[in-house]
Subunit: 557 residues, 2 copies
């Protein structure tokens, strides 16, 4: 019988974090401990000179399905595998949100024998980063409402045009749409507002795109909280908010060091959404990893059209990063899903269905080639996969002259990822990748959107609503048109229609409206309905979580 | 020129927290570090055998005025003074809330040369305790609204009778009264609700009255979140919330160890309000201090009629604690305030006004005698106090056969509190205190309220509104009448009218209604208007807070 992720985590012997730091050449006095197994790392460990010549490996995936792809598991497994073949590697990933912990899926820090530890701490509060981001975000909201109520709105803010909501790291359906400021003239000015989940906060996005504390403070000051009656943007610095917000984030800006099950370094920092934000860990953490190890394995949320594209166009351009190879994670189950096989039948071997689902993988391979990157396919193994099915994928990749390797890290840890590690190492060292972003920031907004939509999504056309067209005019007027675009759309399809699985074509991307993240440094064209605040399911995971007298937590996975 | 509190704090040389732990006989492997200067302490360090024979000193104060009393400063100073005269002492106090940090008064961790360090960390996030309490509280709210929306309200909860709000550690006027669940049938059930500040959370009160994690989990399960259409109480355990809530508080239940400016141990843990809750640090922290040091100096919020009475009746009865002496902090300025002297004239020597304000002090002395405690008066010195004014207080105390001592810790640290320390030591070791609570929990609710109102407030009578009378009937029906009472009233008067300063008499305490804290273990008779969510002032302190490239924070004080 298989052990649960939590049982595996608990049975693993952790090393004191000072030993993990030592592996990276960090002296004990430089780390800021949080208990014995977690530490924050000072930004002075980032060394641009050392980064040169290091290898950055991006892990992305095919289009997500209910079947699951295991991208985090594959990333951690790949890092274990690389360390096993003698390559000094750090895995650098996002911090989990509390929302899913209590909601649908329980904790998230890899799975099986490819996990980061201490799993419980990472999933519950960790080093307080999400809480600090939440506080900084909500302080700005409090200052904003206080300005209108108590400072007589000298900034002339139109309460109907406030775009800054509040955030809470919780699946909180009931807070999506609220009316605040009720109760009479002593309680503020009534207005419609709402709460997003903390991962969707622009403060999170800004933190993850900052190069240091002063850069972060500047980004926070540039946040647009709303507009005046004359449609002039009102920014956080006009509320004198950025100093206190940055002070709240003093330690949050430091990346967190933990360990994998096999005692290799893992750096976990920041967790922005991959639809309305960039969907990958902080630039600071990636650079920290590259400064301290020879290889960094990192991942981006959802598939290559969402987190992948944003990693490459936004994060790499802002952070001046150049990936050396990219891994596309695919599973036999997910490929069969893309062929339309129902969830309950996915365990039945069906090579033909695998073949029918391969066009999805093909598109993601093409996408990475648009960025001039050499892709490696990781077939993330499940026990129900048949040899014939796996052979289908291998043959297909051979036909495209793309390397493929099995990844069995969930079952066997680094040992199960050695083939993948060797393939990735070869690809990274081949020098065949010559990373080139898809667009320059100074292109027009429509040109940027259309380039992503046509090249990456495979769209035939892009349409803008009347509202979106008006916003485009405003953006040009107030000088936001030179920002990169972070297109928000469903993760379940390459198109903006979640029902169009596999590799759709001929579709039109419809831009309904734009959100602004002027502080973090991008604008968000919204294609479809985007959820910024999830709800709890009818059986919340929280109901099964418990703790005993010795502090052992159960039910997290 | 005087240095600011922040300048004094920054100029102080801190010792590594392992050295402070060592002073208390705690080996390094037993502490859970949060950076180099803060650590959490495991509950196994509590030792009931060791507590016997140790001395517990409560610090309370006269009725607060705008002039300020400096109770925390006096508590820290007294602990420094006791250590200076060779008594191994720990000061055990509450954690500050972020609300005041960004609102009116800036940070709070003592003042002048009587501070706890690291001041910035203590005031900003600290070890994440407030954030964890907030999350546990709000998880219960999310589960509650999700139950009504998604689980078809099988518990039959009347949405109009939900008493569980949400919390945020922020001065957030605009969130006091809100309507949630708007936006249509996918977004939940619309209803009126609101946010309290986190210090007002029942989870905070429960944590601070718990003896261990299992006791806390039970208390959390007993929280009453609302009532059914048939007026049956609905508790958190019916929503299966207590396990996940307790898991979130796994580390929060551990007290935090920091240091005073003079390198003595300070334990800081929990921060409940002193009007709607018990207003003092956790029972766990107090017992931890008594287990590790010979003397514990602790304080309770506001004056003897609020935090003082609740410390003695609630906390001491629940925690089986017996204070050995009590310090009543008074200032010349505050006494003159009670005589009606305007704020701007308080610096002018006026012995007659001091004399006229002394009845307030006299009442607080009487109050402590009702508990069979020996009081010591600490005259917390300000530069503008004249010798003649101080002499007035000394003479008055002599007349009552009560010891008084100057406290000049703000200016001179422990050196300035030696007289006070010696006086307190003598009182504690005299054996003259024989602590007796004012009432037994099994008295009737009205009897408990009237005893406190008449004996401690000096009221002539107690009146109940029609609503309060109905609630009393309900409490008897559902068995809440054996809980202690935690009366919520203004801190600015011994009565329930903030305008009645000094020592009012002949007044009636009007109980408007009751709140319930059935999980934490008390009911809250509300006399007057109680603010559970402060607002930001027109010039929020946040506007002046800043941080530089080296991480130096300014404007916190």
């Amino acid at each position: 019988m298989h052990l649960s992720d939590q049982e595996i985590a608990r049975a693993s012997k952790m090393r004191p974090i000072v030993q993990i730091a030592e592996k990276l050449g960090i002296p004990e006095e430089d780390i800021r401990p949080y208990g014995k197994y977690v530490a924050k790392l000072p930004l002075k460990l980032i060394n641009e000179e050392k980064i040169k010549g290091k290898k950055l490996i991006l892990v992305t995936a095919i289009t997500p399905t209910k079947a699951g792809e295991g991208k985090t598991t594959a990333s951690i497994g790949l890092a274990e595998g690389l360390n096993k073949i003698g390559v000094k590697t750090a895995v650098v990933i996002r911090e989990p949100s509390l929302g899913p912990v209590f909601g649908m899926k329980g904790g998230a820090a890899g799975g099986g024998y490819a996990q980061v530890l201490p799993m419980e701490s990472i999933n519950l509060h960790f080093t307080g980063d999400f809480a600090a981001i939440e506080k900084a975000h909500n302080l700005l909201a409090a200052l904003l409402d206080n300005h209108i109520h108590n400072q007589k709105n000298t900034l002339n803010i139109d309460p109907r045009k406030i775009v800054w909501k509040r955030v809470m790291d919780m699946n909180e359906r009931a807070l999506r749409d609220v009316v605040i400021g009720l109760g009479g003239s002593a309680q503020g000015v009534p207005r419609e507002s709402g709460f997003d989940i903390t991962a969707a906060s622009e403060v999170m996005a800004a933190l993850c795109l900052s190069k240091d504390l002063m850069d972060l403070k500047e980004k926070l000051g540039n946040i647009i909280v709303g507009f005046t009656y004359q449609d002039e943007p009102v920014r956080a610095h006009q509320l004198k908010a950025q100093g206190a917000m940055a002070a709240l984030l003093k330690h949050t800006i430091m990346p967190n060091l933990v360990q994998t099950i096999e005692g290799n370094p893992a750096i976990i920092h920041g967790g922005p959404f991959a639809n309305i934000a960039q969907g990958s860990n902080s630039i600071i953490a990636t650079k920290m990893g590259l400064s301290l190890a020879d290889y960094v394995v990192t991942e981006a949320g959802f598939a290559s059209d969402l987190g992948g594209e944003k990693f490459l166009d936004l994060k790499c351009q802002y952070g001046k990063l150049k990936p050396n190879a990219v891994v596309i994670v695919a599973t036999i189950r997910a490929l069969k899903s893309h062929a339309g096989i129902p969830f309950d039948d996915l365990k039945i071997p069906n090579p033909e269905a695998v073949r029918a689902g391969l066009p999805n993988l093909e598109k993601h391979i093409e996408n990475m080639k648009h960025f001039m990157l050499v892709p490696v396919i990781a077939i993330n193994r499940f026990a129900t996969d048949s040899g014939e099915e796996i052979e289908e994928v291998r043959k297909f990749c051979q036909g495209l002259r793309v390397k493929a390797a099995l990844c069995d890290a969930w079952e066997r840890g680094g040992e199960g990822a050695i083939e993948l590690a060797e393939t990735v190492k070869e690809a990274a060292e081949s020098g065949k990748s010559n990373f080139t972003p898809l667009y320059d920031f100074d292109w027009g907004i429509e040109q940027k959107i259309e380039t992503v939509a046509r090249k990456i999504y495979g769209a035939a056309d892009v349409e803008y609503s009347v509202k979106a067209k008006q916003q485009l005019k405003l953006f040009r007027k107030i000088g936001l048109d030179k920002l990169p675009v972070c297109i928000a759309k469903t993760q379940y399809s390459l198109s903006d229609d979640p029902n169009l699985i596999n590799r759709p074509s001929g579709f039109t991307i419809k831009i309904r409206e734009f959100d602004i993240a002027a502080g973090a440094g991008f604008i968000i064209p919204i294609a479809g309905t985007i959820m910024r605040m999830p709800g709890l399911p009818s059986k919340p995971a929280a109901e099964n979580i418990d703790i005993d007298a010795d502090g052992n937590i159960t039910g997290l996975f």
